[in-house]
Symmetry: C2
Subunit: 193 residues, 2 copies
């Protein structure tokens, strides 16, 4: 159950065997079936979720009723609504499993306690955030400057696993494109080669 999490931690910081065992006690294992949700829009996000197995997405519905895909997350990644989680505010996002998934959940309190008891866990969290920050910066640049075709090709290169695993209209939504546009972009690409 904890393989992916331990791997993720050990890639970033050095922790003792005892710390790892202690660490386990803070997490709540949880299985989600496809289409089940971890967080409903309007609720307060009380969990930081690590994905041992499966794939999830977070999304929101705007005033006009359009759905916007905010994040995908697969094995070895974390997912939450950080804003809601940290400030106890009502989330505008829904977090949903796209396949049957196995999660390890960390409540706000458990996360705080873990960071206080194992300083290396705070470092681990900071390093994760640094990487997420860099990835988001790249996504901003992509969203502001690239054409539809460039966005799709670059996403495929950066995260081939996700593009293959997820319905096409969700990829379109993640890139800020309509499903029709993405369909045409894909056709154009395949005609070129």
């Amino acid at each position: 159950m904890f393989q992916q999490l331990f791997k993720s931690i050990q890639e970033k910081v050095i922790v003792t065997h005892e710390e790892m065992e202690l660490c386990k006690t803070f997490f709540i294992p949880k299985k989600l079936r496809k289409k089940q949700t971890l967080l409903q829009e309007g609720d307060i996000c009380i969990y930081n979720a690590f994905i041992e197995k499966g794939i999830l997405r977070s999304f929101y519905i705007d005033e006009k009723g359009n759905e916007h895909l905010v994040q995908f997350a697969i094995e070895g990644w974390w997912i939450t609504d950080l804003s809601s989680f940290l400030t106890n505010s009502n989330s505008i996002y829904t977090i949903e499993a796209l396949e049957d998934s196995e999660l390890l959940l960390l409540t706000t309190a458990a996360r705080e306690a873990l960071m206080n008891q194992i300083p290396m866990f705070e470092r681990y969290q900071r390093l994760l955030l640094q990487n997420a920050y860099i990835a988001n910066q790249a996504r901003i640049n992509s969203a502001l400057t690239e054409t539809a075709e460039e966005k799709y090709i670059n996403l495929g290169n950066a995260y081939p696993g996700i593009v293959k695993r997820v319905p096409q209209h969700m990829i379109a939504s993640y890139l800020g494109l309509t499903p029709e546009t993405l369909s045409r972009v894909r056709k154009q690409i395949s005609n070129k080669s």
Copy 2:
């Protein structure tokens, strides 16, 4: 010289007077005149800069020669190329002062040492990153889903200080718009009221 920095730290974590004094010794004060750069594209970003006074921007030039504004930063904010800073890679960004500015610089080594000697500084850094992550998430949503007019109005509401202080074509670049489009958007808004 350290007023803004101390204010920023004390807003986020609790530190002793001694820790604050120790903290000072890790920073290198630096003044930049308008148009001078802290980082040149192609160089390795060796500083994490805190802004005591002034305003800076980071930007890059794409293959087609177009300039893209990545970030603004004013008093009380940090600026760096995190990717270059953390991985010692060559930066694609240039960081430049838009007004005469006063900075406090932290090298990679000084930052590591500071985090090891004052654990609350690591927490401070993590909290900064959390906020930056949330802000970037909002910027992604804006870039992917909002019209030019919405982008401009929302930026003005979120950061009135920046919109007033900076040339209009830089705001346009930050929002991923051409200067012509922003000019027309502003005209439309003023015609409405």
